[in-house]
Amino acid sequence: MTLLTEKTEQRTEDTTHKAHGKARLREHLMGWLFVGPFGIVFLAFLIAPLAYALYLSLFQKKLIGGTSFVLLDNYAKAFTDPSFLSGAWFVIRFSLVAIPVQILVALATALILDAVTTLFTRFSRLMIFLPYAIPTVIGAVMWGFLYSKSFGPLTDVFGLFGAAAPDFFSSDLIFYGLVNVVTWQWAGYYMIIIYAALQGIDPALYEAARMDGAGRWQIALRVKIPLITPALLLILVFSLIGTLQFFNEPQILRYLAAGTIGPDFTPNMYAYQQAFKLANFNYGSAISFALGGVVFVCVYAFLFLTRKRRSFLR
């Protein structure tokens, strides 16, 4: 539109101005038209609920005495609440273990699939990706049965060697049991992202590296990995945000893990319990926002630490 109007500049200044204005207006309208549907959904289903939850979090409702405005009391309570703090500490510890494991598995499989080209690579890629296509809830139920001492294969497998099967539902091992479930679920998805990034690298670079005498290992470590750093950072941020909000898997497995997973196992579960089981929507909202704060701080700290790298959020 702009181009067209600019080409017809023989008109008087006045009319040109008007034409410009009209075109710009139309342009604006077109823009809003395209953004509009998304904007409405965004406002109605993200901003409005967020604002309402924030509003709720400033009140306190008691069984005796009703609702009162308490400003930030709920937040002060959350950050001194052992249940919230232990949950937050758990997801932070969990992130420190689960995220590197997932990324290493994803990176290793992606590098292998990138380097090796056989008939099976496509098939393998699909198979490794498949867990991501399975809904988390179903995945968690499935693992629940695999871990089970009565139904699961673990008892039989370990029985072959005359050993007792590890109980992944015990409080000692539930951490690793969950790391395994999460890795199974997400490593394939991350692998696809890394694999796509690897495909985007100019093969001429490999040739150059080979001419410089680099072996396969060196190409992988010195050429490929540095070039896909932005993709790795993207995955790290995704997984960090996701892991800190850990909810589905423990929520499902708590029905199988005899008391190991309490209602305050992770902050998200705790918020859910407060809001929907104890009808404490105010405190539940405050926990959600407090967790949002923790996520924000962690992600910001992470981006700050990696700011020198090329990042997708540069």
Partner: protein, 450 residues
């Protein structure tokens, strides 16, 4: 793990909207008398409809019976989930101020929780006197807060000891009459290489509470005339003794520590992994539904009275049992009360309930009838379980005062029992922790704790 949502709060809100989205059509179009969303088919469409939530397995039949016989009102029934699932939806509807049904099925221990939020209606003025004689005093006490009545008792859960006859025969033991004998029998079976004797589940707080009450504990005292004051006594000697007793059984490996109602636990019950199952009168219905008592373990179960602490002064307790309550969101409370009073009251529905052992009826016309008392229960291989065990237990039950924050109390208890199972606390310590925790919560909720 939800990856797509950048802020935690969004997740909570998304869950909220998802829940709202799921439950609103089932709530009968926002809880009103909209009959178009019922699970059952209403044929007399010219009559006013009352919406109702409930989860008894035979509810379809009960509702159809009621609708067929009644020419004044029709019931629009939805099953929104069992126990906790339903309470969660009801609680959300209470908080929202809309979306609740007219009549709701609740377990008796939850009535004060909803009553204190003014979510239930006192139905005394809607025909209480006409049906008063149909239920025992204990049954009425469990659905009352003070003098006000907040539900119509339907079924109860007198607790007894279900046991495996094959295990008892093999290890040559007889049903223990006291808890001391229970422990001795457990030790004997274990020493002979037998299965676990019972189970300490962290998710059955109501049962644990009942067992504490059996020893003499009185967890809560509450007088609705003084709604701000509540007595919380969760760490008296009786409560500590019972937790220590079960904690010791678990520590010695005499009983399992599996959560109950899980596939793992049911599989154990089917496979004879547990010699006894301390549970309520509704348990056979639940177990049959889960596949117990069929196939290889047919005819292996029997029932004996609950072991006692002091056999000279036996105490009977109750686990579960439920009632129909009228919600304060009911459009026409009087009509709703008619439904609550009449729904599980006709002979055909009652008979179906107990003959299939789905419920243990509290209606005295059944409870006193010889058909019921003398019935030979199929699950117990023809044993006259009602006459020998359950009816005496129900008759001797005195009723309990429940707390207005039942959900919190049960969750806190679950946490402590898990800690006992994990070995980090003794039963006595767990009781002290529980007292501290629940008393603090009560104070936070505005009560003065005595």
């Amino acid at each position: 793990m939800s990856m797509k949502k950048p802020l935690a709060a969004v997740a909570a809100v998304a869950v909220a909207s998802a829940l709202a989205a799921c439950s609103s059509p089932q709530a009968g179009g926002g809880g009103g008398g909209d009959a178009s969303n019922c699970t059952n088919k209403i044929t007399k469409t010219n009559l006013p409809a009352v919406t109702m939530w409930g989860w008894y397995p035979n509810m379809q039949l009960v509702v159809d019976n009621f609708n067929k016989r009644n020419n004044e009102v029709q019931v629009c029934w939805t099953n929104v989930g069992q126990g906790g699932d339903e309470y969660q939806k009801f609680q959300t509807a209470i908080s929202a101020g809309t979306g609740a049904p007219d009549v709701v099925m609740v377990e008796m221990d939850r009535i004060p929780t909803f009553q204190i939020q003014n979510a239930l209606v006192d139905i005394k003025k809607y025909g209480f006197d006409a049906v008063k004689a149909n239920y025992s005093e204990g049954a009425w006490k469990d659905v009352s807060v003070g003098d006000a009545v907040y539900g119509v008792p339907v079924d109860g859960g007198p607790v007894a000891m279900i046991y495996r006859t094959d295990v008892f025969d093999k290890y040559k033991i007889t049903p223990p009459k006291t808890w001391a004998e229970y422990e001795q029998a457990a030790q004997k079976v274990k020493d002979a290489g037998g299965p676990l004797f019972g189970d300490l589940g962290s998710n059955v707080s109501a049962l644990t509470m009942a067992l504490q009450i059996q020893k003499g504990a009185a967890p809560f005292t509450y007088d609705p005339a003084q709604p701000k004051a509540i007595g919380v006594k969760l760490n008296d000697q009786a409560s500590k003794d019972v937790l220590d007793y079960w904690g010791n059984l678990a520590r010695k490996g005499l009983v399992g520590t599996q959560d109950q109602f899980t596939p793992e636990y049911i599989a154990g019950v089917i496979n004879g992994k547990y010699a006894t199952y301390i549970s309520a009168a509704w348990a056979p219905g639940y177990l049959t539904g889960a596949g117990v008592g069929k196939g290889e373990d047919t005819g292996k179960f029997a029932v004996a009275p609950l072991p006692q602490w002091d056999p000279a002064n036996p105490v009977q307790v109750n686990w579960g049992g439920s009632a129909f309550s009228v919600t304060s969101q009911a459009k026409n409370p009087e009509l709703a009360a008619k439904v609550a009073y009449g729904l599980y009251a006709d002979p055909e529905s009652l008979a179906d309930g107990w003959t299939n052992q789905i419920i243990f009826p509290l209606n005295l016309t059944v409870l006193k009838s010889s058909e019921f008392v003398d019935a030979k229960v199929a699950f117990f291989h023809g044993q006259q379980a009602n006459k020998e065990v359950y009816v005496p237990a129900a008759d001797a039950y005195k009723g309990v005062t429940y707390s207005p924050f039942g959900q919190y109390y049960f969750d806190a208890m679950t946490k402590q029992v898990s800690a006992i199972i994990g070995g980090s606390v003794t039963g006595a310590q767990a009781a002290d922790n529980l007292q501290r925790d629940v008393a603090a919560y009560a104070k936070e909720q505005g009560f003065t704790v005595q």
